[in-house]
Symmetry: C2
Subunit: 421 residues, 2 copies
């Protein structure tokens, strides 16, 4: 079918025309659809059987331009291919941790998938101080499995490069290159920031050592093809409820540095930590929840690192270092040292790359709901200054990091210095 953007009416006929979508409904005579897209790039419809509202599906279709910038920023619709491929891979490697894909239509740049009606995007419940007992377990499994199993530690060189060739995604890479690693730290018309923190923003923009470090991290993002990364894995790309954790929206996927995915998640938990200076006025209540957030950060890293290394020990089938390479007296110890050094560098990448994602939210094109939902600009500034300080230190001090406690220590130090006027 030639591409045409669907609307709430045409999407119904479309669903009826696709066997893999149609089969999810016991009856397609009473379908209804609502558009719920709040993203910038896509149409998102929920299609329901009015006779049985539990029968539903999400239809996500790429628009040929960036919505927030109107028609002025054309984007290739090919990005829906990256999303579909990545979701199908997630379905296969980590079943239950992403929406199930029912159908993918390349011509229409469209994916039909499971409607996660019982889940919500993670930002809001984190602001509401909800807790998710299985989140650490789920997301660390997701991160460890996807990153390990698409890397040179698991795949043959030929298989990895062949897979990588299906994720050449320059246009969406460009968005992150611009909006995470560049424009926020220089004059750029789309930048937005709280007038209360203008001095801090200008200080970042003229902080030479920090900008040198960010340029190094951008080079890593642009050149280091370690594994298939989601590349936008903040808490707005994760849907949760008490039992469930689902990773959504992998349209930015490409082969990049693993630390960017782990880091985006951890730094967005830091962002949420900061937002409670406004959202949770009672200091005791705030501290309890902030401690919970530190537990999440620590738990995600520790869980990820333990599972990643366990996968590595169990499946050292990858091209990077074959088994025979470690067959010498002391070789087992050397292999253990190699893993330890690898995980240490990954922790440092996690800190540096992740902190670029939180830092840019303070001064770039788009902030996050955790912050923008703060009405009082002075209180918002308290949160933002905290995030700027933690992010800057994660970037500048990353070469010394050897344990997640090093990252958490900085959060605690900066938290202890926060003064709410």
């Amino acid at each position: 079918m030639t591409y045409r953007a669907l609307d709430e009416k045409t999407v119904l006929d479309y669903v009826r025309s696709r066997p893999d979508l149609k089969q999810g409904f016991s009856d397609t005579t009473a379908l209804s659809a609502g558009e719920i897209g709040d993203g910038n790039l896509n149409l998102v419809f929920i299609v329901r059987n009015s006779k049985n509202p539990r029968e539903s599906a999400v239809i996500k279709q790429a628009l040929p331009y960036l919505r927030v910038a109107g028609d002025s920023w054309p984007l290739t619709r090919e990005r829906m291919r990256f999303e579909a491929q990545a979701l199908l891979l997630y379905n296969q490697l980590t079943p239950g941790l992403s929406p199930k894909v029912y159908d993918y239509d390349e011509e229409m740049s469209l994916v039909g998938m499971e409607n996660l009606a019982d889940c919500e995007v993670m930002r809001k419940p984190l602001v509401e101080r909800q807790r998710f007992p299985d989140f650490v377990e789920h997301i660390s499994t997701f991160l460890a499995t996807i990153l390990f199993k698409t890397s040179d530690l698991y795949l043959s060189g030929v298989d990895k490069k062949t897979l990588q060739a299906t994720y050449v995604n320059p246009h969406l890479c460009k968005i992150q290159e611009d909006f995470v690693f560049t424009n926020p730290y220089q004059e750029s018309p789309e930048n937005n920031w709280n007038a209360e923190i203008d001095a801090e923003v200008q200080a970042v923009r003229s902080n030479a050592p920090l900008k040198l470090a960010i340029a190094d991290l951008k080079e890593k993002y642009m050149t280091q093809a370690q594994a298939l990364i989601h590349s936008d894995l903040h808490t707005g790309s994760i849907m949760v409820n008490a039992q469930d954790t689902r990773v959504i929206d992998p349209e930015f996927s490409f082969f990049g540095p693993m630390g960017y995915d782990v880091g985006a998640l951890l730094s967005n938990l830091v962002l949420n930590f900061g937002s409670h200076y406004a959202h949770t006025p009672d200091p005791a209540e705030r501290e309890v929840y902030q401690e919970y957030l530190l537990d999440l950060i620590g738990g995600v890293w520790e869980g990820f690192a333990a599972k990643f290394e366990q996968l590595w020990i169990e499946h050292h089938s990858g091209e990077l270092v074959p088994d025979a390479y470690w067959k010498f007296p002391g070789g087992d110890t050397a292999f253990a040292t190699f893993r330890r050094q690898y995980m240490r560098r990954l922790l440092q990448d996690t800190a540096g790359l992740g902190a670029c994602e939180s830092l840019r939210r303070m001064m770039g094109i788009v902030s996050v709901w955790d912050i923008t939902s703060i009405q009082d600009q002075k209180l918002r500034a308290v949160a933002e200054r905290f995030v700027i300080r933690v992010s800057s230190r994660w970037i500048m001090e990353r070469a010394s990091f050897d344990h997640i406690e090093d990252l958490l220590g900085i959060v605690r130090e900066e938290a202890s210095a926060v003064v709410i006027a």
Copy 2:
């Protein structure tokens, strides 16, 4: 035309059938051909007009298997596409520094190109202590131009990734991954080494810190897509005469770490340096030529670094860091610092990656003519031990390198310790 391997007869009809090849000959009734292939992967014919022997062309055709291993190691013929693409790019960006391409036939996996009748592969004249007054100038221009102009320092992110997508070359990458970074340092049936240095070879294979460092360098080779690299740029891939320098055989081309190209060249000059302990028995004569080789190593790096940085200053059009990023008080100094740090890391990569290429020649599948042409196995061992020591130190000490003199100092120190029994 469906693929079929040519022979000395059928290649003549082939040339007559191709307008772009035929036009190089004033008369095609008296063509003759000789096969000169000494590589492992390809047929190479020189086709001449017997009535005017100055009219000639090289016809290079990929075989569907690795010759040295018989039919047992199948290879994709696609590699000739990488060679043709790279040579055409070289022709365009650095005219006169590679053979001119006349014709490329994808179906036949065949490139027709300039016959460099007046040049010879660089190894032999280096063994004969010849000098090449323009070599440093030429090869540093080649390296600086190709590496800079295919990198994120010059190209937009979209252009670079689009170009990179045409160089997905997993099968030839695998050859270097195995034979440069892995198999020589472990038990592997194809390894060959001089019995005189068995102790040194076994010491390398059980040297845990060295093997950890080589594994790190292999990861860099496998993941860091900095620029289009030749990926086999030793002195056997360069043809020279007194006036001319030509880079040949870029079939291993892909987007990898820049330092591998610069390093392969420098480390092969170290290999040649070592070979003169056998090839040049007179100590005074030997020292003079070894000093010349040090001048070449220093000159190539200094010329490369100066030209690369000059290109960067003149054309900072690349995606990595836009001009506006450095527009702040002190920004010019920050940009200069960024360039200096980038070149320093490039020097360290050059040392480490290059030294893997020389080290593997001492204990892997194939040595180099500089060494294999030494008849006396004890003298050959003197050269080989020297190369093992220099290479190991370049790998282990690279993090401290800040200037080419640091690399040269190690060559000098190890040279001063050489004893010829």
